[in-house]
Amino acid sequence: MSRVDVRKTYKLFIGGAFPRSESGYSYAVNDAKGKFVANAALASRKDARDAVVAARKAAGGWAARTAYNRAQILYRVAELVEDRRPQFVAAVQQSEGLSAARANAAVDASVDRLVWYAGWADKLTQVVGNANPVAGPFFNLTTPEPTGVVAVLGPQQSSLLGLVSVIAPVLTTGNVVVLVSSHDRPLPAVTFAEVLATSDVPAGVVNVLTGSAATLGPWLASHMDVNAIDLVGVAGDPALATDLEVAAADNLKRVRRAPAAEPDWTLTPRLDTMTDFLELKTVWHPMGV
């Protein structure tokens, strides 16, 4: 007798829980050849709103962790991705239509990327902070601090390596994330959310919405409680990107502008992947007191 298929409908990841979309909608996810794979929740603007609330609640605690602790937690995420290697390889292969070898390479690179950023957590302050020379009897110290709630419109093509490459730098610097995953390739993001839920990342630090960047983007860009937005997910749609930048100006969000096309994620990242979402705080302290 043939086995009955398990028909999967994946859910969102908000505040450490896996709720269905508030709207009740889901959409069919196909593999690279157009064959049905599973259903994913179609996030609505209210899910985005809930995700921002959850992220805001988690922001203080995550920023207050020591950089060392954040490094450990990111490293743990890397371990868990490695543990689930077959699942990730299959998901990447299915979503992106890669050969097994190339999908394996993408998972390798993703794990390495997480480890790379984990290492940066307690080194970044030394690199971008400074003891400034001033003409007076003061210590003048500049240190980086997280910007806060960062909305990330995730890359549409690279479903795992691209995703990790945009989330990890935001996390390692102490920010919290509301991610809108790739619309057509959301399943690696869903699996990654399951990894985050079982790692030591506190609830609400990463929130994953599956759905359309064009629908959710305007709400996140205009949201007054979002501090920064990464527009890489709308790469190749300059009109939408411009609209989102204009909406983001209302509360002076930091914006990482959309590139003309999705970048090559296999390259070693530049430092500004981390410094884009940092604020520099300078303290003047009297000497000899």
């Binding site: 805001r56 709400w219 409680d225 979002v226 909406a247 209302d250």
Partner: protein, 320 residues
Amino acid sequence: MPTLTTEFADVTGSEASMRRFLHGLPGVDQVGAEARAASLGTRSIKTTAKAHAIDLAISMVDLTTLEGQDTPGKVRALASKAVHPDPADPTCPQVAAVCVYPDMVAIAKETLGSSGINVAAVATAFPSGRAALDIKLADTRDAVEAGADEIDMVIDRGAFLSGRYLQVFEEIVAVREACTREDGTAAHLKVIFETGELQTLDNVRRVSWLAMLAGAHFIKTSTGKVQPAATLPVTLVMLQAVRDFRDSTAQMVGVKPAGGIRTSKDAIKYLVMVNEVAGPDWLDPDWFRFGASTLLNELLMQRTKLTTGRYSGPDYFTLD
């Protein structure tokens, strides 16, 4: 009690008749009450109706600060916020009242000035209610003398739970008399049940009737110091009680859920329930209030969302 009909005058005559009456009230179907509250909570209130509901809810808020760490400065800030909840938008309605401890009444009164916003003071050894009657009465008189327009008293839950209904009744009557000012007018009396400590919905129905018979102007769920505080089923039972009380005595009594109402969605659920259970007459700040502190910011955020079309954040409203 001159205001009571003779039907109830003999109820309050003795411990035995009081018990007979309260225990003779029909029992509350707890599962039914919860299901009814849940089903009313699913009503969808959108666009203009939502805007109206949010403004109504703001005008029903008793903006509350009842902390040991309250300072005159904080009470002044709260009172200023009560007058202009959203300073950026003059069309935003005022709240109904500011609720403070008795020693802060004069400060709140001074800041509110002629705004028309009432000052409510908690009295009678709030929140536990564990003090001798003369201390409770002195507490009440102090607050009234300081200028309180409304007194929020707590009942003696210990006496109620051990069945000494007449004692609870007489205490409410005595506090109501203590609310009288020298010129003959009186502060409004709200009676807090602390339903989180009353165990059953039957008890909530009994204590509602007891307080209304004793002359309460408002019946209020909780102090906000005990969990669970206000819940929809508890408020449902209280709304049924005030509706039935008006049917039998032609007197209206107000209802005030307090504590645990944090989102505008919650507030709108309560308003739907008021309309459906008690009736539209109660959809008025004189007859329904929310005891809350954080709720106001949530309502303001929703209001801003409706007017600007984008989500707002807590950074843009004062902390309280």
